[in-house]
Chain length 381, copies 2
DNA sequence: GCGCATTACTAATGCGCATTAATGAATCGG
DNA sequence: CCGATTCATTAATGCGCATTAGTAATGCGC
């Protein structure tokens, strides 16, 4: 049915009316629906679609396209009068990149949980992404994207974006490996050195924890105990590392008693135990921060129950920020994780990877918080 | 140039391995970059691109495409092993959908603000979207999508998604109008009746406020005052409407004194004023909830300063949830906005629009909260 | 053995745009 | 007055996919 078109090859001898003729089909507004295309603008302005594209996508860059000012105006007027707006899908198809960064979080989508742990990161991520002209695609671990649920290819959906950010403690490394191996830009938010070649951005827990210990040492404390949970995630081991470094730097012997590792802090860290430690000479405690804040809660409860006053009898420190429900009054001495900046840094790194660079500046410093739970140690009786 | 392919017509005598022949150009992974295309999957599976498309986009609909199970598996395996994921832009362009819902918020990306106001909605949105197999694209108002900043086509980016959810108080109606007029599925989170044809989902502030007043009336209160800010946003007027309805239902005259409208609650709602009102017979106050919680804060402060005890001397109600920093002890009588459910409802509606339906169930009920700030009125002296 | 329907694919096409090679026209040097 | 240059614009192409028309190959009935 399209045969009659091939006749054109026989037209060599025909004197056709110059070029002014417009090629057959001109997608006129048929049903009065759908927004205008470049072709329609072109029709109205009496130019070709290519010209419209050239005019409308003229970058501010030095060399303007070779378009006469008059034509330019005609096209612009036509576009304006038709209310033309480019189709982002088409534009992206032609440009081979879609200005989309993915965000994949593995945590169960349990509202309150997510709220507490990830939102602050996302704020930074969103800001930085916006500033760089990227939009974000949120993939959720639990989401069954029409196709495979949590199958082995659950991660392949992220390739839809130009690159992807991963959050969460428990990441399926095997799948990530694939992405990385394929050269897909990936950044993990949080230290992750198990996987060679995986880019990551993390908070400098080591330095921050060291600083907290240093602060206590400066106040005069010589016996400090770290309360931590029984989990070997990088954030935990980093804090312990910093804690021990801090002790060493202050000339305090670490020893096995310096770290209290509890599977269930609420049960193991009881008032009697705290009393015993204090009687033994301990004057300060620091707890690690985790999702649940279990260590800090247990420490607080035990100290209170033991009848000890906080800045007076013992000093307390928190290696992180307090959970929201405990944020109110006694501001704990410790440090804040710069979540906004972490998120932003991650996006910066990801953007760099997407554009082919290899930038690397993984560690973001934490902010020391003096708080009101640390003071000089009580003189030994 | 494709001529050599037609050789196949002369191969009748050759015993070739069935249909195993592959067409000429097969865009192999040249530079080891970029994600795989259907063509590559096709190559690996020994079929044509069209077949890959057919297999991968097989809708669960009754009539499956005419593809043999064996081929189907080969294609699926190939796709999985290459980590294939369709390009949303291309898919979109080819007139399908891409399982992407947009979320566009107009609010400045001011961290704490967004945190308080929008996150709970997003939780519901994310859950429901995930449950329905959609991923989310977050567009940010301030984001300059590479091209025009906040120009007249700032909204056009959202067309990448199958439909879009809009949040925020200040929405550029003119642009939204275009989207709606073009038949692009749009849902606004929050009542928005100014724009004909704009679908929206909102909380039923009217009923909830009426219920709060009814509760007070049942306790015996006959003089109730509404404290509100000087803003005519729908949420505010809805609450007032419900408040007045409630008074009417209880047979209480409204009158001009029943509503206290303050431009600056902190200044206008002073302790003396509260005392005067109480002396005049007022036994209960209700405040509207806003972003800042100004009305509720001012009311609380004034009552306390006036030396009045809360459930004892006067009853207080809050038409909404208390701001985070006041959430602790005296749980205010009032109602909670079911933000999760609102977000979920919005997604449901949007999904319906995307698939061409016209479902409508815009109002989501709020949850009454008994709290501890309301009791029987003091008997008149 | 010949239609004819069915099955299992593939070739071809186009979505709306950006981009590039190609074409015409105008200008210029000699 | 004829190439050689610029300038302005257009034809042609392809991005990655869905879709449709078409083509072998096979099965079925007579």
């Amino acid at each position: 049915m399209r045969i009659n078109e091939s006749v054109s090859e026989g037209t060599s001898g025909v004197d056709q009316p110059k070029k002014r003729a417009k090629p057959g089909r001109n997608p006129a507004p048929a049903g009065r629906t759908s927004r205008p295309r470049q072709a329609e603008v072109a029709g109205l302005a009496g130019v070709s679609q290519a010209t419209v594209s050239l005019v409308l996508s003229a970058r501010g860059d030095g060399r303007a396209a070779a378009i006469s000012e008059e034509t330019r105006q005609r096209v612009l007027d036509a576009a304006r009068s038709l209310g033309y707006v480019p189709d982002p899908a088409a534009r992206r198809l032609a440009a081979a990149s879609n200005n989309l960064l993915g965000v994949f979080s593995f945590t169960a989508t349990f509202p309150t949980d997510v709220q507490h742990s990830y939102y602050p990161f996302l704020v930074g991520v969103e800001q930085e992404a916006a500033a760089r002209g990227y939009d974000l695609v949120l993939f959720t671990g639990s989401s069954t994207g029409g196709a495979g649920a949590t199958g082995p290819d659950a991660l392949s959906r992220v390739r839809l974006a130009d690159g992807c950010l991963f959050l969460g403690r428990h990441v399926p490394l095997a799948e990530l490996k694939r992405l990385v191996a394929d050269g897909f830009p990936v950044v993990h938010l949080g230290r992750r050195e198990e996987l060679e070649g995986l880019a990551w951005v993390g908070a400098d827990y080591v330095s921050a924890s060291r600083e907290v210990v240093g602060h206590l040492a400066e106040l005069g404390h010589r016996r400090i105990v770290l309360v931590r949970e029984d989990d070997d995630a990088p954030p935990s081991t980093d804090r312990q590392q910093g804690f021990l470094d801090g002790l060493a730097a202050a000339g305090i012997a670490g020893g096995p008693g310096a770290v209290l590792r509890c599977a269930d802090p609420a049960r193991e860290l009881t008032a009697p135990r705290v009393r015993a430690l204090v009687a033994d000479g301990v004057t300060a405690f620091v707890a690690e921060e985790t999702d649940t804040g279990a260590a800090w809660r247990a420490l607080n409860a035990a100290v209170r129950e033991a009848g000890l006053s906080c800045p007076g009898d013992v000093s307390l420190g928190l290696l992180g920020s307090p959970p929201a429900d405990l944020a109110a009054r006694p501001v704990p001495m410790g440090f804040d994780i710069p979540r906004h900046r972490l998120g932003a840094a991650a996006v910066r790194l990801l953007a760099a990877l997407v554009s082919g660079e290899e930038a690397h500046e993984p560690l973001v410093a934490c902010e020391f918080r003096a708080g009101e739970t640390a003071g000089p140690p009580v003189p030994p009786p």
